[in-house]
Symmetry: D2
Subunit: 359 residues, 4 copies
């Protein structure tokens, strides 16, 4: 149990390394009868694909997904869905130096200390490339949730480095390379171009919102909906913080202002972020995550090698100057996986009748 399975009823088991033969996942527990094709999955993979703008890594991976099982005649059968993505752009090179030293802020150090052995090729298992199977699985969850409950999930950038990005409209998110909900992104482009010149990287804040989520999802005492969302998001590479609803701002609020009033027409506000007592209220689920700056930068850094000797590390190769940029579709996928899992858990407990808001 090396922690590579996500979920309890809708279970996604992830495998692969950045520069091995292939990456992929097995989805176990998908209900039968869902129409599903490779195109359904590919469109989500294409959103997180590298090489789509000058602001992300230039690694050129088509990330073509193959469905190996679990689908017959265009519909899921209830059997596990095997998904395979071949790695194609592994440049052969000499990893002997990389294998012997630890990049500051990178998982090199901890993988070495944990396992006593490390696949150094392109970050191995710790590479952000391993989010692709998560996105693929999330595409299946998204489709089921949309068809059954009309759930819609949208991730977008809320902050780039020090620049806070106002929310204008979801329609803009797909129209710029930043997943930013704004019409004009020149400021962001200039910031990123300057950053690249300095050979540095920056952090970001991503926000994800799910609408149409039925009330009643979440299993207290421990497997609360917000707990599982926090698990999912904090487990995403480079994430250092997770907020739901008012988040850290709630520490400064009074009870009289935080608690969302309820009217016959619904909640008046959404400080709760759609979750009370660990269970969905039926309002929008509203999540924000803090993404740290990429550790792989060209600026020389002080570090040590595997024998503990001091070294100066410069990370060459093709890296994202802001991993937060491509995090939006991944965060969407993770939220979809959590909601899907909890929808099945609620159905197990209550049957169809027990999901009154699910229609």
């Amino acid at each position: 149990m090396s922690g590579s399975t996500f979920g309890t009823l809708f279970r996604v088991t992830n495998f692969g390394e950045s520069h091995g033969p292939a990456i992929g996942c097995v989805i176990d527990g998908c209900p039968p009868g869902l129409t599903l094709s490779e195109a359904d999955i590919q469109q989500e993979l294409d959103r997180r694909r590298p090489g789509t703008s000058r602001f992300v890594t230039q690694r050129n991976e088509p990330d073509t997904v193959e469905i190996l099982s679990g689908v017959y005649d265009g519909r899921t059968t209830g059997a596990p869905i095997g998904l395979l993505i071949r790695n194609t752009d592994q440049r052969s090179k000499d990893y002997s130096e990389i294998a012997r030293q630890f990049r500051p802020g990178h998982a090199d150090y901890t993988y070495w200390h944990k396992y006593g052995i490390r696949d150094p090729r392109g970050g191995g298992r710790s590479s952000a490339r391993l989010t692709a199977p998560t996105v693929a699985a999330g595409a299946v969850a998204k489709k089921w949730l949309a068809e059954h409950f009309g759930v819609a999930i949208h991730g977008f950038m809320a902050q780039l480095g020090g620049i806070e990005i106002p929310f204008e409209s979801l329609e803009y998110v797909g129209q710029n390379p930043f997943f930013a909900p704004i019409a004009r992104t020149q400021e962001l482009e200039q910031y990123m171009d300057a950053l690249r010149k300095r050979q540095d990287s920056c952090g970001a804040v991503i926000r994800v919102i799910a609408s149409g989520v039925p009330a009643g999802l979440g299993e207290p005492l421990y497997d609360k909906l917000d707990a599982d969302i926090a698990y999912a998001m904090m487990g995403l590479n480079a994430v250092k913080g997770v907020e739901i609803g008012a988040g850290f701002a709630s520490a400064r609020q009074l009870g009289s202002e935080h608690g969302d009033s309820i009217t016959p027409d619904g909640f008046a506000t959404n400080n709760a972020g759609g979750i009370l007592g660990g269970i969905s209220t039926g309002q929008d689920i509203d999540v924000r995550i803090a993404v740290k700056p990429t550790s792989s930068i060209l600026t020389p850094r002080q570090s040590v090698d595997v024998e503990g000797n001091p070294v100066e590390v410069v990370t060459k190769g093709r890296h994202d100057p802001c991993v937060g940029i491509r995090a939006a579709p991944i965060a969407e996928a993770l939220l979809a996986l959590v909601l899907m899992d909890h929808a099945l858990r609620q159905r197990a407990l209550m049957g169809d009748a027990g999901l009154p808001a699910m229609e």
Copy 2:
């Protein structure tokens, strides 16, 4: 699987309601040979106990724990440890009105929509009282971690409402009713007294630090150490945000400043909060959580009843004006449970030899 079990190898199964006959938990997976008495557990329970100062709920519960199993001759045997805490201060009263209306910001609404039935007595299953068994289980984990690796875990208040609390020293934490690491707490006392007069409640930020944690704990891809910490903390009643290391501040950092340099003597800084790639580095694990203001306040609030009719809700009874105050020992317990679970997972994978830092 109603989500009442915490952990994978060191498993804690929690049961009980605020005003039922008893609360408690079963710990399955505790290694044999640990010396353990009820006093070991009681001392941690007493730290989170209500009624200890005028700043917390005046409910008077001795919270006396009984070990039902798993310990023979003063030592754990490897069998499940059953822990029982009888509820003693359930005032009998008429719950018919409470049972029919939803307090804003409270789990009433979601329990009703999830289960179609709700135990209204003192918040039932959603009461913060149910953190007591978590604290009891955490006491066992703490003891094992301390004896095997010298791990020490300290929770304390970092912010009360809008007041940021500077870190002075851990020695002060036990000397004031706020778990504040400062010598003089008059400002906090005045703030709380004013709050009570206004019949309102406030939020807080709690910080928890674990030192002595061996490198190598955490299971990527999904069950990363930080992911499991986020799950644990976000699942704690009233928590709306979790940060590790630089947290949300890392979104504003550059890669050149965020990544912690490594020297032959160790890491130069700790922006990572002791975790890289989801695995512990051997540095301090550093976590911050945002606790929202209590929803149960005397100020009248607008809400609806179970038929959807508008009602004005006033919550009487004995409630914490700042649930964050008692959150410090609970957050410690949760961090202990996560670390304990991951220590056993690492031992399964690597054996003793694979834990080089564990000595």
Copy 3:
């Protein structure tokens, strides 16, 4: 994860030792709305209770169950159901000799080698007494299955030592101390009386049948319904064999005789024992288990002590001369737990509509 939790969605976590303060369990995942009282559980516990005839152990335990949580106003709430049974007949005695030597055929030897520590009081955790919480949890599952699908589960004795017991009628099962489906049990009584005089013990075969089980329960590839039944039954103390349907006799059958023909009115025979491809067919689930003779006998046996020195062991105390006798209600409970768990799993996967036979 010391293996003390049974099930995946309807989870039973068992705790306690034979002579500790208490035994019990926590049921997590019981759907809300089930009417449940202590009497519902007690009646099943009374069926397996010791001291009810001269053919079982004379230990006098009332085995009174207390519901600690999860039930409000006579109905389950969806919260965990804590069940407690106090141990009352622990005779204090000197266990120092027992603690130092291993009874042949008993778990003494393996507990010692596994844990390096052992609770010797009355068999500790390995005592058949620990089946009581399983029976209590099974009572809840039985009630839900009966109310929702009309499932009825009957266990009875099919063989006592070398005596094969023909099936006459279920109505006789409750009318004799052997759970035998025959009107006249003099032969069994004489056999047991002779056995006791010889200070020996004997084995048995128990058969359990569940009728009314909907088609569609079971999760291939691994968590097949028959696989989980085998797990449940083989895990029962003293069981050394499990058969489903034709069982071992099927090894001698031809395909043309084994495969149950299907007619518009249903299956013509039931060699399958109600399970095909690991999934229930809607026919009776038909299971047989072999129970070994009790290892605790008065006849002196050759063994060793904890230092490996040869010793002669005579087990005094109050023991069942045939543990198979009380196994029938326990086997029923185990089958109920498996069916309950798989009913919830099927409901998660398919919703209400996906259980066409469940009406």
Copy 4:
């Protein structure tokens, strides 16, 4: 959670259908540092491969395995091991008739009732072909167990139809197409040839023995070693019975003859089959399984179609006349998986020092 994952710490997630693009599995939790190549796995796959004699199905599948991940530089890294086997011999044909009717004794009927949809190509998910990934994963477990504890696991035929096969020597097992431990197999060959002429199939009994297993494996109360073995074996296609040690014969034994005496040199007998109280004793683990006759036979059978109309079913195609023949290597793999999982569980609980017999 459609039940396609085997194990708790050494987890194998199986995917694929008989005639889909590929079958395979993901092994999560394999300790790092094990030398592993595709050849190590292929040799076990070749033992269960079809088409190797006239007594098994003539389907011609090379079953070539590809390692997709988890191995670097010839050694496991601790990351999940993805294993892929492409299906190559799927003859395209018209499945419309097969899809509409149910073969007696086959999973057609139950898959249809469970999922409401069924992949009819070659048995789909219910095909015995899906044991190949299990065998592949078992090869990894076998290798680890052999290198760490010298565990050796041998499966062989103990009964073919009505013919009991005496145990002569393990050396013969690999020398005949029946996995029979006897020098001369003419009687078996004649029996099978006669069976084929009658267009019928037969059952078998397979025995599996593991030697070198350290004492202390198994997690009472529920996840006992024998319970998990029974789960594994009963979950194997066509298995209807499982025995450990004396098995069903123990029902006829007296306590004085069943309990294995212990001497300073070890146990005198092995009625326990190497397991007491659900925990390994250090003796040979001794398991027997009953395999029913293949349901796919050329003899016409009475059945119904999906609308419930009576039909006569004749199964054409290439099928094993005795699925028991190829069951020996699969049963070995399953036993290896159970032992591996419990070895890691024991290591989690006790560390290296807690496995005194493991050396």
